[in-house]
Assembly symmetry: C2
Homo-oligomer: 420 residues x 2
Amino acid sequence: MCALIKQCEFIIANLHSNLYKTYNMPSISRKGIEMPESPIRKLVPYAEAAKKRGVSVFHLNIGQPDIKTPQVALDAVKNNTLETLAYARSEGSEEYRTKLAKYYVKNNIPVTADNLVITTGGSEALLFAMGSISDPGDEVIIPEPFYANYNGFATASGVTVVPVISKIENNFALPKIEEFEKLITSKTKAILICNPGNPTGYLYSEEEIEKLKKIVLKHDLFLIADEVYREFTYDGLTHTSVLSLDGLENNAIVVDSVSKRYSMCGARIGCIVSKNQEFIQTAIKFAQARLSPPTYALIASEAALDTPDSYFTDVKEEYVARRDTLISELEKIEGVTVANPKGAFYCVAQLPVKDSDHFAQWLLEDFNLNNETVMVAPASGFYSTPGEGKNQVRIAYVLNKLDLIRSVEILAAALKQYPN
Amino acid sequence: MCALIKQCEFIIANLHSNLYKTYNMPSISRKGIEMPESPIRKLVPYAEAAKKRGVSVFHLNIGQPDIKTPQVALDAVKNNTLETLAYARSEGSEEYRTKLAKYYVKNNIPVTADNLVITTGGSEALLFAMGSISDPGDEVIIPEPFYANYNGFATASGVTVVPVISKIENNFALPKIEEFEKLITSKTKAILICNPGNPTGYLYSEEEIEKLKKIVLKHDLFLIADEVYREFTYDGLTHTSVLSLDGLENNAIVVDSVSKRYSMCGARIGCIVSKNQEFIQTAIKFAQARLSPPTYALIASEAALDTPDSYFTDVKEEYVARRDTLISELEKIEGVTVANPKGAFYCVAQLPVKDSDHFAQWLLEDFNLNNETVMVAPASGFYSTPGEGKNQVRIAYVLNKLDLIRSVEILAAALKQYPN
C-alpha cells in the first residue's frame, strides 16, 4: 500500500516534470522532487505573514532553545586573533579531537581522537554516516516517529527508510524485536535510533540497547545512534550510549552535535564517533571532499568543552521545570493525550483534530487570542508511513515557563474554536 | 577501457569488503569504497612526518592563500553581541541575500534575493546542485583536468563524471563543441565548468560561454558554472558569468563561495544562484534538511560585502606578481611545460617525471634542500580518465614571491636528483 502510494507520487511528480519538459526546461531530479519539505520549517511563511499582521507567534515548532550559550564559547570567538580565516583540517584538528575524546571518556564512551570525525553539524554527521554505509536502494530501519530530517538525508542518499512504528500509548518505547526482524532484508544496512528521542522524548533503557545489540550482531548491521541530546535526561535516569557496550565495536556509530548541549545550534559543529576504522576512514574521504568544518565554530566548540558542570545542572533543572509545566498544562485540555518525555526537550501530543497539518496552518492563518498564536510542528512529517501521526503535533519546550503556560492556553482556546 | 578499469576496481573493492564480511563486519558502501581521496590532502601525513623530522614544507598543494581576510569581516565577528548562537534561516536571511544580490548586479549578474540559496561553502552548493538535478546513474560532462572534489561530490551523489579532455598545449582552452556533443546521452543532465579554472587557471572567453549556451539549449541541459574565482582575472581580461547571458535563465546555475574572494576559506559560506525557480525551490529542500549555514560565518560574510574596492585591487596586483614570478621561474627548468594562467591562482605544470604521485610523495619523504621541501598536488586526481595527468602537478601560487622563488629552486634541485 505504502509502496503503491509512493509509486503514484512518483508518477505524478514525473508528469509534473515532463510538463516542464515541453517548455524546454532541463529537468529536476527524481530525488529532488521526492525530497520532503521540513515539517518544522515549511510553515515559516505563514508565521511570517501572521507577524506582519501584528500577531505574536510562540515558536514551539523548532528545537531552538532560548538558553544562553556558555560564556566561555562566546568569548573564545570574540577574542580570536585570526588575520586569515583559513581552512581547518577536514576531520578536525588533532587538538580538538583529543580534547573531545576526553569528554566522551568522561561520559562512559571509551574512544580516542582517531575514532572521531568532526562534521558540519549533526546533519552532516548523519549524511556522511549514511553515505559511508549505504548505496541507493539500501534500507535503514528507523523506529517512527523519528526526526523529520532523517527522511531528507535518506532521500539525498537514495536510501529507503523502513519504519517500525512505536506507539504513543507505550510512551514510544522501543518496538518489539520481532517487529525489527520482520523488516530485515538483504538490503538492510543499519538500524538508526535517536536517544533520547526527537520528537518523542523517549529515553531507551540499557536493556533496550542490549536488545538492539543482539539483532545488529546477528544480522551484521550497523547501529547508528543519534545521541545529540545525551545530557538531557530527567527523573534520575541515565543515558546508555551504543558505544558503551562491549562487542559493538564494529557496528556502533554515534552521531553527535554541539547544537543542543551548549545551546549553539548556529555553530554547525557535529561529530561522527566509531571504533570501526574502515568506516571512519571512509567518512574522512567524504569530509575531505567538502574541505573543512567552519573555523569560527570550531573555536567556539573547542572552548565549550571547558563549560563548567554547573551550566548543565542549571539547564537541566530549567528543562525539567518546563517539561513539567508543559505536560501538566496539556493534560488539562480535554481530548489531548501526551507522552511524558524522559529526555530531550520535545513531546508528541495527540490532539482532537483530524489533520494536524491543516490545524497548524490554521493556527497561523486564521486564529489568534488577543493577537497571539502558537506555531507547532505537524507530526506527519516525523513518520514515513503515510497517514500516521495525522492527529499529532511535536511541541518543543524551548521557551520559559510563563510563555509555555500562555502557549497552551492559546492552544486550548484554538482547539475549542477550530472547525475541524 | 576506462569502464573496465572501474569494474576491476569495484570487484577488488568488493573482495576487500567481503573479506571483512567473513569476520562479521557490517560492510562499507560501494560509494564509500569508490569515494576518491583528495589529491590535495592525501599527502598531508607525509608532510606532517617531514615537519616532525625538522624539514620545512612550502605548501603549494592547497588553495589556502596567506592573504589577510578583510578587516571589516574579522571585526564583525569580534564585535558580535550574540548571547545564544542560534540557527540561521536555511536558505540564508533575506537581509544577506538582498545585499548579496546587489553584489551580483554590480558584477553584471542580474539576480534578486529569491534567486539565491546560501550554502555551507561552495562544496555544499555543488552538492545541492548535483542532488537537485541528477539521480544515480545520471551523467555530468566536465572538461578535465577539473577541481578534484567534483569527483567526490559526483561519487557521493551517484553521478557519473564524463570527462572531455582539454590540453596543456592549448593552455586548457574549452574543448571543441563536437567533443561535447559526442558525449551527450539520454543520461546527461549538465555540463559543469569552473571559470576561471581550478586547476588550470584558464579563463573562458564570452565566445566560449556562448558556444556552451547553444549546446545546453539544444539538448535541454543545465550549465553549472563554478565561479568562485570570479574576481581573479588578469592581463585586462574580464570574466563572463553564465548568468549574464540572455536565454539561459532556465539552464544556468552558478556555484559560488566567499572563500577565495575574501580569503576566508574557513568561513564555509557559499551560494547557489539561478533564475530557474523550480531548481531553487528544490535546492531549498536540501538546505532545510541540514537546517542552516554556520551563523558566525554568515556574520563575517555579510560584513565582507562592505570590503573596499582597494582590497581587491591590491590582492589582484599581488597575485599577478606571484603568477609572473612562478611561471618565469618554472619555465627556467629544463623539461618543464607550464600553462600560463589568466585567472584563479593555480597552474598546471608538466614535469619530466613518469608518475607525479610518486614524485610528490618522494619530495616529502626522501628529499630536502637545506632542510626545506615543497608539497604539490599530483594532477592525476584532477582527471577522471585513468592515466591522464600522470606527469603533471597543480601548483597554487598562494605564497609570497620570495617563497615562490625558493619553492621553484627546491623543485628544480629535486628534479635533478629524482631517480624517476
